[in-house]
Amino acid sequence: MKHINKKSVKQEPRWQTKISGGNFVDKFHAYRNHHAQALFSSLGRLVASRFSSAMTIIVLAIAISLASGFYILVANLQQLAGNLEASNQISLFIKDEISEARVNKFANSIRQNSDIQEVKLITKEQALEEFQSYSGFGEAIKALDKNPLPVVIQVLPKNSLENEQALEALLDDFKRSAEVDFAQMDMQWVKRLQSIMEVARRGVTLLSLLLGAGVLFITANTIRLELYNRRDEVVIAKLVGATNGFIHRPFLYSGFWIGFFSGVTAWFIVTTIMLILKQPIETLSRLYDNAFHMLFLGFAETLALLFISSLLGVVGSWIVLHFQLQQLKPE
């Protein structure tokens, strides 16, 4: 009797036992189960409202596929331009009437110039040989009774002469020389192409950022609607002691699924478009000695695409939860 009395004094009334129950392992399992439950119930809700989900996901997928489509386009163009090395080599086409001795003298005078790294003289005969073996017009050339090709001096300025204006000045000097018929910077067009590519790359980056922001806010708005539709549930959960983390979880998972499925759909859109373009592009490439191999979205790029779109979905819903949940106050 004494023992029972002691116990009943010490013990809290039956309804006042500890607020949070279960041991650590149980709690961990419960926590993990709740995550899994939130993951699949948000997927279930997405499927339950499949028409509106599909519309949202398609809009997002189009935005994502635009960004990734432009990305792969630039990557392909870059591959084309990347094969070409830009050098500052200048070709001097010597006037036909200049004698061989005078050409040699002229070449030597260029070698004396401290800005010049290398000078290479290509005689008419060498030029013809080269032309015959590379151009595919060998037979046509043979039909001519006289070698139409000029003597060419290839001049490579020193690397220190990076400055465009200095190069232009050098080129102008050559153009004024009496021996020179015509002078040109060989790879200037490569430089121009590379500049255009740089512009395109930046443009695509900016466009992707813009489209990414679009994806972010469309997801945010979708989650906002879901939050509005489930506000009773949110308010009740708050009243019975739910933490913000508990309330956020299913919505964050919804955002994740929306982003993930948009990424998957975008991948299919881009890949389908590329498969449609593949054949004509390969035909074109064959006409240019297979100089070009089409690049598709690779494994790493696909992973990045899915990761970024899922992340945008999660961040989009987080933004809404952060700013809107405060307003959902229990009454």
């Binding site: 809290e12 009334p13 039956r14 309804w15 006042q16 036992t17 607020i19 949070s20 129950g21 279960g22 149980d26 709690k27 399992h29 419960a30 926590y31 189960n33 709740h34 009773d232 549930e233 308010v235 009740i236 959960a237 708050k238 009243l239 019975v240 002691g241 739910a242 933490t243 913000n244 508990f246 106050k329 229990p330 009454e331």
Partner: protein, 218 residues
Amino acid sequence: MLKFDNVSMRYPGAGDVLRNVSFHLQRGEMAFLTGHSGAGKSTLLKLIALIERCSRGQVLLDGESLNLAKDRQVPYLRRKVGLIFQDYKLLQDRTVFDNVALPLIIAGYGHHEVSRRVRASLDKVGLLGKERKYPAVLSGGEQQRVGIARAVVNKPPMILADEPTGNLDPELSAEIMHLFEQFQQVGVTILIASHDISLIAQMNHRILKLDHGQLVAS
């Protein structure tokens, strides 16, 4: 268990809704909170449920000052109070079981523990066997008993009820009140806001009466 110490509540533009309210509910005590509409009953309950914070004075729940509670502590303090509403606030798209289980899932109980406690709680309110039903197919009295089962399933030391019988006929109301008395007998502190004077008069419990924000009888 619950202590109000000179509590005042002022809403911007509405003046003082509560003025210098002081009272102390002992552990295991049951009390009614009454007064005319707009006397401040709801506001007083909101202060306990941490839906609002008081402008002056101090509210102590289980020895802890609610004024000093940080936002991230609010959910844990709310778990000490089982809330019961006039409109039951049940989730219509969840079964009775899921409705009652919600506080346990939020508190992170394991599956078996949830199942055991939900059944115990439903047994207590006489609804064992209706776990799989949806709230919409239950009567008003049954829905309120689901609300009560949800409020007590986590064994909170305190129950707050806001007009719990407001939508029920006198017979069902008496039944619900009797249920509250059973919880009181096992040591739960209970505060019930109600303006059903005749019902309150039948029951022999402490009455806190508010009039224009002031406590006029205790």
